[in-house]
């Protein structure tokens, strides 16, 4: 088994992007120019607090841009993926595909006697 090769690929995965909630946020944002917080909330099923926490991490890494303003008296939060975020998502997809290609197929592994 060529474990070191697989491990290398797995370790190379961007952990910031690999987390499911953050991956979902990036995938949703990749489909639009700007997304309102409410839409992301209903697509992700996450609580406001949880979503905000993931948003902060992605914003701190420069993968998304967050714009806060008011619509009338209601606070309005809009998010957009940055060019760095698009690159990170594309790189993650490639890495994930490479990892899965490298791993041996369990169905093809000969059984021990």
């Amino acid at each position: 088994m060529s474990t070191p090769g697989h491990l290398g690929e797995v370790m190379a995965l961007d952990r910031l992007v690999h987390e499911p909630a953050r991956l979902l946020i990036l995938a949703v944002l990749a489909g639009a120019k700007e997304v309102e917080f409410g839409f992301l909330e209903s697509m992700s099923g996450l609580s406001k607090g949880n979503l905000s926490s993931h948003m902060s991490k992605l914003e701190a890494a420069g993968l998304i841009a967050v714009k806060k303003s008011f619509r009338g008296k209601r606070p309005l939060t809009e998010l957009a993926i940055t060019p760095a975020g698009r690159r990170a998502l594309a790189a993650y997809r490639q890495q994930l595909a490479a990892v899965m290609q490298e791993l041996p197929d369990p169905a093809a592994t000969p059984k021990r006697r």
Binding site: A27, A32, M43, S44, L96
Partner: protein
């Protein structure tokens, strides 16, 4: 697993992209309304000419359409939250071109009227000031709200017809004029009802697509919440 994750990511992205279309390039029922109002403005200009109530109605049509368009977007098509569509470079170029055309037309009309009225600018009839105001509102509308080519064609016509009505005139229907200038104008104006019909057809198709999209969004929301 990788294939599953890749597929889910692509699905989410595509779902968002389709929803985002209703912020800019897809109007759905507001396109149907725009097309119907365009037909009313086209035929009403001549057929209702002289009716006291027709003038204010035709002048109000562009504002009614733009308000209805915004209302439908926020209250119906993007109820889950506003998502702005990603513009392609081609979309951006087409939009800039359309705004530039509208601006050139407005400048030419203002300059022409200025030349005519140069000795006594305030001697122009009040309707001509309304005409000018509507022409400049058309430029603003083209820049701010008329983002797709069909929206632009129909919107520009609604503003032009409103401006003409404000000045006491209208675009003549084809076959009802005899002078060369009016015939040319009626031929050019013929593209507007055709664009209106195309807009109604595309609006109906977009609305059908939205109904399918709404089901998929609901499935996604339930899946995210872990509901069956």
């Amino acid at each position: 697993m990788s294939a599953d994750v890749q597929t889910r990511l692509e699905e989410l992205e595509a779902l968002t992209r389709r929803y985002a279309r209703y912020s800019r390039s897809a109007g759905g029922l507001s396109s149907v309304l725009g097309g119907v109002l365009c037909l009313i403005a086209y035929f009403g200009g001549q057929l209702l000419h002289g009716a006291a109530w027709a003038g204010p109605v035709l002048i109000a049509i562009p504002a009614v359409w733009l308000l209805a368009k915004g209302w439908m977007m926020h209250r119906y098509y993007q109820r889950l939250g506003h998502v702005e569509e990603q513009e392609t470079p081609l979309d951006r170029r087409v939009h800039r071109f359309c705004v530039a055309v509208a601006l050139l037309v407005a400048l030419a009309i203002t300059f022409g009227l200025g030349l005519v009225a140069r000795p006594h600018p305030w001697s122009l009839p009040a309707g001509m000031f309304g005409y000018l105001a509507l022409v400049w509102l058309m430029v603003l509308a083209a820049w701010r709200w008329l983002r797709s080519p069909l929206d632009f064609i129909v919107g520009v016509f609604l503003f032009c017809q409103a401006a003409m009505v404000s000045a006491g005139s209208y675009y003549p229907l084809i076959g009802t004029t005899h002078t060369d200038q009016a015939l040319l104008m009626s031929l050019v104006a013929l593209m507007f009802p055709l664009a209106a019909l195309a807009m109604i057809a595309s609006g109906i198709a977009e609305h059908r697509q939205f109904r399918a999209l709404r089901l998929q969004l609901e499935q996604q929301r339930r899946a995210a919440l872990g509901q069956p």
